[in-house]
């Protein structure tokens, strides 16, 4: 394999490029990213970067020395527009196609938007540019901020905006946010954090539309499905993401809410792998930071072997920082699993809980209990590894 092209210059793409080099690939390595920035870490964008506690230089995922060591051709500000699997060439918007031997698809996901025309003052939060635009808007002065969507991004943005002194309302269509992730009882504890920090949480209310006025068409209010109207100076839409597979339509790669690949991140087309938020690995698409980094090593190995010689079966893990509370979750939880308090107290916002099924722990959740959480998470991960060895074909 002479040339490997990585489409996507964020966490999953960078980690795969690193893994290719560390696993001995010394050919031509091309990294294409549609953003103009070098790889940076996204999780702080809704937290410290928004409040100003973290600056842009602290977001970098690789320093100059490492970038040099990677010895890659960087095509930043370039968007992949299509893929011809027959000639193994990637169409690049406004540039010549890239012909490659191996291909890593790491195009991530893009935020879902509200229907209707674009309005000034309405934001989504995914990229550094998004975060800078939101930060600039929030810096105009005390604002009435409406966050649409009470998931993790919405909650973190609400928390950051409240910390900056803005008047914040979170609108959630479901009766309670985070139920799919945490289950009813634990979601209730997390939802209570909003009110404790002066943020209004409206649930069971869909959004009917946005009101705007003036020459700039700036948003003035959010109309809710129940007929009420929320005045708004700034609106942040956090209603989930969709994987960025549009450029792969017609390529012949199987697409179904992501690029379908096997447990080793390998697609049905030889020498094409997918990693990160865009990848549906063995029927499951994770939008987790840790999954992206773990998949990278496996995908690199399989790409270089030109076969699935290793698989990715780790324990899903995610965290969220909001209102000074660190929420950590790991495991495979089913809606019927029952949470059991192991230590601490939900009232103190510091506790560890295990989800159980037939007396067995399936997942673990902690609020401000990193140490015992880590112990339980490792135990669970070990069980998963024993049941499904990482590299069964070795």
């Amino acid at each position: 394999m002479n040339t490997v092209t990585v489409i996507g210059a964020s966490l999953a793409g960078l980690h795969t490029a690193r893994a290719l080099r560390s696993q001995g690939f010394d050919g031509r390595l091309v990294i294409v990213g549609d953003e103009h920035h070098r790889p940076y870490d996204r999780p702080p964008l809704s937290k410290g970067f928004l409040t100003g506690a973290t600056d842009q230089s602290q977001l970098a995922l690789a320093d100059a020395e490492e970038i040099a060591d990677l010895d890659a051709e960087w095509r930043l500000g370039s968007r992949a527009a299509g893929l011809d699997t027959g000639t193994r060439s990637v169409r690049i918007a406004g540039a010549a196609p890239l012909v490659t031997d191996g291909l890593v698809i790491a195009t991530g996901a893009t935020p879902r938007q509200l229907p209707g025309p674009a309005r000034a003052g309405v934001h989504t939060l995914r990229t550094l540019d998004d975060a800078q635009a939101l930060r600039a808007d929030l810096a105009r002065g005390p604002a009435r901020v409406v966050v649409i969507g009470g998931g993790f991004i919405g909650a973190e943005v609400a928390s950051s905006c409240a910390a900056l002194g803005h008047e914040v309302t979170v609108v959630e269509a479901a009766p309670l946010p985070l139920v799919p992730q945490l289950g009813d009882a634990m979601a209730r504890i997390c939802a209570a954090l909003h009110a404790e920090h002066g943020v209004t949480l409206l649930t069971g209310t869909g959004v009917a539309g946005l009101c705007a006025e003036g020459a700039t068409d700036r948003v003035t209010a959010v109309d809710l499905a129940d007929g009420s109207r929320l005045p708004a100076d700034v609106v942040v839409v956090g209603i989930g993401v969709r994987p960025r597979t549009d450029w792969l339509e017609g390529s012949g790669l199987p697409l179904d809410d992501g690029v379908c690949c096997d447990a080793g991140c390998v697609t049905p087309v030889p020498a094409i792998v997918a990693v990160g938020d865009v990848a549906r690995v063995d029927g499951c698409r994770a939008e987790h930071w840790t999954s992206a980094t773990e998949q990278a090593a496996v995908a690199a190995r399989n790409l270089l072997a030109n076969a699935t010689v290793a698989t990715h079966r780790s324990l899903p893990y995610f965290w969220s920082d909001q209102y000074g509370v660190r929420i950590q979750f790991a495991g495979h939880r089913l809606p019927t699993d029952t949470p059991r308090l192991i230590e601490g107290s939900p009232d103190d916002r510091s506790f560890l809980a295990a989800y159980e099924r037939d007396g067995r722990t399936t997942a673990v959740l902690a609020l401000n209990r990193p140490r015992p959480f880590m112990r339980l998470r490792r135990e669970l991960a070990r069980e998963v590894a024993e049941k499904c060895p990482l590299s069964p074909s070795l």
């Binding site: 980690h15 930071w289 980094t293 965290w319 950590q328 990193p370 140490r371 880590m374 112990r375």
Partner: protein, 107 residues
Amino acid sequence: MIPVCHLEELPAGESVRIDTAPPIAVFNADGTLYAIDDTCTHQDASLADGWLEGCLVECPLHAASFDLRTGAATCLPARRAVRTHPVTVADGMIYVHHTAADEGTAA
């Protein structure tokens, strides 16, 4: 010189965080005491809450790893070392000798 705790309060495998500025984490790694800056150089997490294995501590948030002997980052996502600080025991009491911030890392 900062008093930490009595030696018997920090058994092997345990760690304690002291609220200096910046905070310091003190570890008992199988009988040997180490002190390093407590905050992971990747993102805000306390290494005193981390997973201790031999002379390595793994960050509880993203599994970055540091060598307690040198402070060196041994596993991504951390790339920068943490500072190390000398530890002594006198009359059963553990003391950390705070390395001033401008002395750089010991790695």
